[in-house]
Symmetry: C2
Subunit: 340 residues, 2 copies
């Protein structure tokens, strides 16, 4: 049962060659031309013995582990931003790498420990990922590992992947404009404090900028703006409930899907049908968007594409500085009708 590990030496012995020969053949380095039959013998020996290289030994020599660290604030342990992992995992698998998962809970002490743990294990690179994109603080890193910020930015790290929120904002407005809405559009959850610069949430500001800019270029205006700092369903429900007492909007532009989820409930309780009476568009493509009825039309965060891009950039050693904006993805479901 307790099989002894098969080593390169075993393979070489069975093939009747030196370990170095076996090494060169198995790692496929084209430097030196070994005889074709040597190749065959080694490969055969490796196969029959079931040889698997010991990556600890290889790492010690080459300083490469084919392992990447994915250090996130809350992504591995919550349901948010899980597309980031999906993309990163798929891309690293395709590249023959493996992901080491570290969670910091947004806590500096955990961040330091996570970084140390990753570096101690000689990872080939580190992805720092964040649930909500923003400028982020990080402990200073004394090692020169490659790193990339995924859904965040940091001065220490010149490589970043971000969603193109500005374009996303434009798309949302376009959806409504193309459905011929010209008035009665209300903005739900815009954050006044962000626009006034009190919060440093770059990407949300871009989302808002995209919205406003597309509105003016379409010659449109909001009939009302319901500001809110909190973007949970609870809040969307309350805001909308209150608003519906005296008003009847034709379309809702919600800052995210969770607000829209709450708005759905308030609309339903007021006897308003979606999309017949009110159309709804929002942002993120949260998984709940597909559960709602009718399905929520939303401008999706391109998390999976971002995750893939992060490992691509991380693994491409030529790239030393870059900020990538990944396009947001409109998901058309049933919540937008046509204006009368």
């Amino acid at each position: 049962m307790s099989k002894k590990r098969v080593t390169l030496a075993d393979v070489a012995r069975l093939a009747g060659l030196s370990t170095s020969a076996a090494s060169m053949i198995l790692t496929g380095r084209p430097d030196t031309r070994l005889s074709p039959e040597a190749h065959a013998k080694v490969h055969e020996a490796a196969a029959t013995l079931g040889y698997r290289p010991n990556m600890a030994a290889r790492a010690l020599r080459t300083d490469k582990t084919r392992t990447l660290a994915f250090i996130s604030d809350h992504i591995a342990t919550t349901r948010y931003g899980n597309g980031l992992i999906r993309g990163a995992l798929a891309a690293s698998e395709e590249a023959g790498h493996v992901l080491m998962m570290l969670e910091t809970y947004g806590d500096p002490a955990h961040e330091t420990r996570a970084i140390d743990a990753a570096i101690d294990r000689q990872v080939d690179g580190i992805i720092f990922a964040f649930v909500r994109s923003r400028e982020v603080f990080l402990p200073s890193i004394t090692s020169n590992v490659r790193m990339v910020m995924l859904n965040g930015t940091n001065r220490q790290c010149p490589i970043a992947i971000l969603p193109d929120e500005y374009q996303g904002g434009c798309e949302a407005v376009s959806l409504l404009a193309d459905a011929n809405f010209t008035d009665g559009i209300v903005l739900l959850g815009h954050n006044a404090e962000v626009e006034e610069g009190l919060f440093r949430s770059g990407t949300i500001l871009s989302r808002l900028n995209g919205i406003r800019s597309e509105m003016v270029s379409r010659g449109l205006g909001f009939v009302d703006e319901l500001s809110s700092w909190n973007w949970e369903p609870e809040n969307g429900y309350k805001l909308m409930k209150k608003y519906l007492k005296n008003s009847r909007p034709k379309a809702l532009l919600c800052m995210n899907d969770r607000l829209a989820f709450g708005a759905y409930q308030a609309l339903s309780e007021a006897g308003l049908k979606i999309p017949e009476d009110v159309s709804v568009v929002s942002f993120d493509n949260d998984e709940i968007a597909a559960y709602l009825r009718p399905g929520l039309t939303t401008i999706g965060l391109p998390h999976e594409a971002m995750g893939r891009e992060a490992v691509r950039v991380l693994l491409d050693e030529k790239i030393v500085e870059s900020e990538t904006l990944v396009a947001m993805e409109p998901m058309i479901r049933g919540s937008v009708g046509g204006a009368d």
Copy 2:
């Protein structure tokens, strides 16, 4: 910038001792008593140099990497069962270990590759985790790594962690019984085919067994049972919509939260209030349960506790065979009222 890695030899040199002395002190082996001042010197030297052990080198010697593999079917990339990761991550961090994340998408080819990738990197153990607990097929493993099945079972692996579905089923019924419901209880989504043994879904069968057994011991019976193979919101909605045409239940026992989510919508459209008109209990404690209004009372899958338990058991080398049943956790929210 390109700092040279500081090695144990550097530390020893600065401390004026041999590397072996430094090694013994730093790894804290109590075998041999080195002088207290030697201890002090070494620790000081390590601190001033910022020494971090090279784990690849250490792994080569000791065959221990302080790294665990978490191989799951769909857990890392979807929002399901992510409490399993949360628990496993927390417990391994506490134990000074790190998790390597591999996803198989339920595909045997991926499983094989994931296992190889993990073993190649000399992980100290493997956790096989599954979204839905069941008997599971796995490629045969020729290595003798420690492994544990998390939310699944497999003949090859004598260590398993599972939710106590039987007890959960009992709890759900008790909730209703304690609220004095004696009739008008309908079971939504019980799976006839499972009970008939057509599907080998052990834990769901246990859930059902717990329900039935507690019903009889409380002297209760269901007024109706709406069978369904599909447990998505869509289906809960349809089933309930149709049922409500001719019937008025007093309480719903749903097989999972997503069915309950659908039932909520049908109930609302029929003008029925929860919990005034109809009480609802279900299973899983999916994150949507807290979003619903009123909050859904549900018997939660103890994912986090299970994840923790998995690493605890995996790391305890004395344990060679064990099946742990982790108690399900009733989450009391607002969806259960009292019977008239």
